[in-house]
């Protein structure tokens, strides 16, 4: 038995145990123990993170002459580490006061189901990450989809249910695309095993690769929520019950990125992807994917800017940050890929922390609506601190970890000579800064509402995971080398030159980055600032918020003296007109098309002579395919090519 067997078996058994024991009060402590043990098991494989050999499971299944197998390589290990750490923090977060309140507000059963959904999600993600061939990948994929669906469907709210249904429809469509792609891959290369497929890919022509890449990209991209498949994600994640949102928001969608890296970068290879020219454009397929990534950073980020609810704002950011990862990976050099992969880790830490802070605010005040919050900093200072640390990370400002991964991506774009992508990435970052300030201002700063005067700090059970994550965000920001080690190992695993790094960042002849120095100097600066502030000036007195400049008027509690709605009104006068909901319209069009088609087919079967009509249509189709010459659409060519093998 390998360690991987232990891990998977342990998680599976733990899932069964949690399902059985879900109604007991000790379930929350129990689940924490489970994740701790699972993490320990994972750490036993930590050699993977430093360039160790892949760990194979001893358990295999034979299907259709294919051996289904499971294995962990450096990339899987990296993702699994993030998954388990986030799950651990989530379990810790929901084990205490939050869980009690959730039990009270809903039911013991509901809380138990949340725990079940969490462990099932973890299990299915581990299975997915451990997949050793395309079929097991697909199995893992389906498991993840349904586990996520379960998590989302736990919220009985109408909006949440609708979002969950929407998600599963999207996920099924994506699964179909993946299944089709896997079938075609099998057809073309005769195997499902990664190594064999990789070899088989070399013999395929460009159009076949193009079809495969498109299908895989669509299938995995739907899970990641890349443009134009981004519509399901934000609502679904935002409406997931508090702690669930922490987990889902932080890591769930990244499974799509994992599969994408695995299939497109590792198996197909970006050089092949880059060789495919897209007709009528200047782009090749790799560039096109990079642009998809860039647009995914911009559009959801600016949608986030318009949100008036903290959870939605964060969830939209989750979509947007996925774009950076895709962009980084698609730059295809060692720095860019490192940035993309590292961003997964960084993102998971601060997104989890942010969702936790927002959940803590909801726990204390009962709302995450910006119009009903404000001024909570005096009441919840530690939560505020965690949020500030995390938003600095999210905005990619030194010295937090988000800066490092974004720096790597920028640097790669610079070296690659991609001005437009660079600008797109910067636009995304600036949009992020704007919206995170809106988040922190409207929740914690400004005027404290009267009904929140007695709000207390979040309970300890919620604070500990939040503070733990904040420490991780800062520590990996100062010493990005820790994470870069793992990233480099993952890069080797997917066949890309590892990034050359040291503890403080990377060394480059044309200007590197050393976060230890940067942080040191920044803290030196803050120290100077503090000396100037505290020793050169006199003492100051804290005053009440009504003792405030109001043009000479007296402020009273009747006056709402807090700017929160339409926070970037000036900007919105310019770009407000650009929010045309074009994707939502597209989605509607698609929905109505599908319902029209189904109506049509329904009528068709009710018509008088269905058999004759079927025959006629088949004849027509056959005639069309026979008469098709070289100018037939790419898809048909690809199919033909696949069939001729």
């Amino acid at each position: 038995m390998s360690v991987l067997d232990d891990l998977l078996l342990f998680t599976a058994l733990a899932s069964v145990a949690i399902i059985v024991l879900r109604r007991f009060a000790f379930i929350s402590k129990f689940s924490v123990v489970v994740y701790v043990l699972a993490t320990v098991l994972l750490i036993k494989m930590s050699a993977l993170g430093y360039g160790g050999e892949a760990v194979y499971s001893s358990f295999t299944v034979n299907v259709l002459g294919q051996v289904l197998q499971w294995r962990f390589d450096a990339l899987s290990w990296f993702f699994a580490l993030i998954t388990l750490v986030v799950a651990l923090f989530t379990a810790l977060f929901m084990s205490g006061a939050w869980g009690d309140k959730y039990r009270k507000e809903h039911s013991k059963e509901a809380y138990g189901l949340l725990q079940v959904a969490l462990i099932l999600n973890v299990l299915s993600m581990l299975v997915l990450l451990a997949s050793g061939d395309l079929l097991s990948l697909f199995i893992g994929w389906e498991l993840v989809s349904w586990a996520s669906f379960m998590m989302m469907a736990l919220n009985p709210d109408k909006v949440a249910r609708k979002a969950a249904i929407k998600y599963i429809v999207y996920a099924m469509a994506g699964a179909m695309a993946i299944l089709m792609a896997i079938a075609m891959t099998y057809n073309m290369t005769g195997s499902l095993d990664y190594v064999q497929v990789m070899q088989g890919m070399a013999q395929l022509n460009n159009s076949q690769i193009a079809v495969l890449v498109s299908l895989y990209a669509i299938g995995f991209g739907i899970k990641m929520g890349v443009i134009p498949f981004h519509l399901w994600q934000a609502t679904a994640y935002a409406e997931t019950p508090g702690a669930g949102a922490v987990f889902m928001g932080a890591i769930s969608a990244r499974m799509g990125l994992y599969a994408l890296i695995l299939v497109i970068v590792q198996i197909i290879g970006l050089t092949r992807v880059a060789a495919i020219e897209i007709p009528y454009t200047f782009l090749d397929m790799q560039n096109a994917l990079a642009w998809v990534g860039a647009l995914t950073t911009i559009i959801p980020t600016y949608i986030a800017l318009k949100q008036n609810d903290a959870r939605y704002l964060l969830a939209w950011h989750g979509v947007g940050q996925g774009g950076y990862m895709l962009l980084g990976v698609m730059i295809a050099d060692s720095i860019g890929t490192a940035g993309g992969i590292m961003h997964v880790f960084n993102y998971a830490t601060y997104q989890a922390a942010l969702f936790m802070t927002v959940t803590a605010v909801i726990y204390r005040t009962g709302t995450s609506n910006f119009s009903k919050l404000g001024g909570l900093v005096t009441q919840m200072p530690l939560t505020f601190m965690v949020m500030v640390v995390s938003i600095i990370g999210l905005a990619g400002i030194p010295p937090m970890n988000g800066f490092v991964s974004k720096w790597l991506i920028y640097r790669a774009l610079l070296l690659d000579g991609q001005p437009l992508l660079f600008v797109a990435a910067v636009i995304g970052t600036l949009g992020t800064i704007l919206s995170v300030y809106k988040l922190v201002h409207n929740t914690f700063l400004g005027q404290l509402r009267l009904e929140h005067q007695d709000v207390r700090e979040a309970p300890l059970s919620m604070l500990i995971p939040m503070l733990g994550l904040a420490i991780i965000i800062f520590a990996t920001g100062v010493m990005p080398g820790v994470v870069l080690d793992w990233v480099a190992a993952a890069q080797i695993a997917i066949g890309i030159a590892p990034v050359e790094h040291n503890l403080g960042g990377i060394e480059l002849v044309q200007g590197g980055l050393n976060m230890i120095w940067v942080t040191g100097v920044m803290f030196y600066g803050f120290a100077v600032g503090a000396i100037i502030f505290y020793f050169l000036g006199g003492k100051s007195k804290h005053i009440h918020q009504y003792d405030n400049y109001a043009g000479g008027h007296f402020l009273t509690s009747k006056v709402r003296y807090h700017y929160s709605n339409h926070f970037y009104a000036g900007l919105m006068h310019l770009i407000g007109g650009w929010y045309r909901n074009i994707f939502i319209k597209l989605e509607y069009a698609l929905v109505s098309l599908v319902s029209f088609m189904s109506q049509l087919s329904e009528n068709f079967y009710r018509s008088s002579q269905p058999a004759m009509l079927v025959a006629a249509i088949v004849m027509l189709a056959l005639w069309y395919i026979m008469s098709a010459d070289g100018s037939a659409p790419v898809l048909v060519q690809g199919l033909q090519g696949g069939m001729s093998k």
Binding site: L450, E451, G551, F554, T556, S557, K558, R560, N565
Partner: protein, 380 residues
């Protein structure tokens, strides 16, 4: 006022918030307040809050002699005090049926126009400063100061002159005054180009001011808008020409009109008016030496002067708009009642409240300054 209670009332759940422009705010003209309710940067409603400058002038005047009141009337509108003196004198003369000597009338018109120039120069600077350009206000105030020097020479006071009295003006103009006035006008005309380049044709300023705070002619008439603000909507109405007083009928001047009714047209109307005033003053410089005679008709002992019983409503065109006094005398040594219809009493309150709805916070101050409201006229 104690802020009634700091603890009790819960905040409404709406997104609207309040912002206070004034009284201690650079976006307000004088000691006045404008309370805004906003959603984002859009004004939901505006509420004027006056009374900070209330001194009870009308009550004060009932307690003082007819002649004493001359000392306090100019204080009702600080930037443009001369029309106040003139219109008060006009009402008293109207009640008493006093003839004003022709020369005094010419001198009065000279003062009125010079005061108009000073007031407009002041307004340009204020308007430009609300859009962030401070240089015109420095220039404008400095150029206005030269006009104040002329006033000082003429009357002895820089700001408050108390030069007009019922029956004429206090004394004749000093020697060489007209030459210095002429020099000043020359100087102003050399500055015209500078002001045009800096302010009136400055593309950024035009962009800021055009189509902001539009007041069309129907609205303007409905809300009782007068003066340059009315002329900016396209109606060529001027009390000086349509209800002439003093010797305006003998003067040749145009009434500048703009049609758009926005902030830009209002400031352009004032700019044109300023140079029309220069034109009027040039005519006065030409004609005044030929008008001989006394500058005041004799009035009885001012400390025991019982003005005849009667009432009078007189109007003049001040730089802000139509300024009127309604004076009632019961035949005593003090006015029985004086009602001041401040030129900006409409502009600063109802018109502003109506115009600000739907505007953006960026433009509120500009609209206020473009209306050239003078708060003490509202408060009195």
């Amino acid at each position: 006022m104690r802020p009634e209670n700091y603890q009790v009332v819960s905040l409404p759940n709406s997104d609207e918030y309040e912002l206070f422009i004034g009284p201690n705010h650079p976006g307000i003209e004088g000691n006045y307040a404008f309370k805004l309710k906003l959603d984002g940067d859009r004004v939901i409603s505006g509420k004027a809050d006056a009374g900070y400058l209330h001194r009870g002038f009308e009550k004060l005047m009932e307690g003082r002699l007819w002649i004493q009141n001359l000392a306090i009337v100019p204080r009702i509108c600080v930037p443009d005090p001369v029309p106040m003196e003139v219109v008060y004198s006009l009402t008293v003369e109207d009640i008493e049926k006093t003839e004003v000597p022709l020369r005094a009338q010419w001198i009065r018109v000279m003062q009125l126009e010079l005061s108009r120039i000073a007031s407009h120069l002041f307004t340009f600077g204020g308007h430009a400063a609300t859009t962030g350009m401070y240089t015109p206000s420095y220039w404008g105030v400095a150029d206005r100061d030269l006009a104040l020097d002329l006033f000082e020479e003429l009357t002895g006071g820089r700001v408050y002159h108390i030069y007009n009295i019922p029956g004429g003006v206090r004394r004749d103009i000093p020697n060489g005054f007209l030459d210095r006035l002429s020099d000043y006008l020359d100087y102003l005309q050399t500055r015209q180009n500078d002001y045009d380049n800096l302010l009136f044709t400055n593309q950024v300023f035009v962009k800021r001011a055009r189509d902001i705070g539009v007041l069309n002619q129907e609205q303007a008439l409905e809300w009782g808008v007068t003066g340059p603000n009315l002329r900016a909507t396209g109606l060529a109405f001027d009390v000086r020409r349509d209800d002439p007083y003093l010797i305006y009928e003998q003067l040749d001047f145009d009434i500048p009109v703009q049609s758009a009714g926005d902030c830009l047209s209002r400031i352009l109307v004032r700019r044109d008016e300023l140079f029309q005033s220069v034109r009027i003053l040039r005519q006065i410089i030409k004609h005044l030496p030929s008008v001989k005679g006394p500058v005041r008709s004799p009035i009885p002992n001012p400390l025991a002067w019982n003005v005849a019983k009667g009432e009078s409503y007189c109007r003049v065109e001040s730089s802000k708009g139509e300024l009127a006094y309604y004076t009632v005398s019961d035949g005593g040594d003090k006015p029985y009642r004086v009602h001041v219809r401040g030129a900006s009493s409409m502009h600063a309150v109802q018109v502003l409240e109506n115009m600000s709805v739907g505007q953006r916070i960026e433009d509120v101050a500009q609209i206020m300054f473009s209306l050239d409201a003078c708060p003490p006229e509202v408060d009195r």
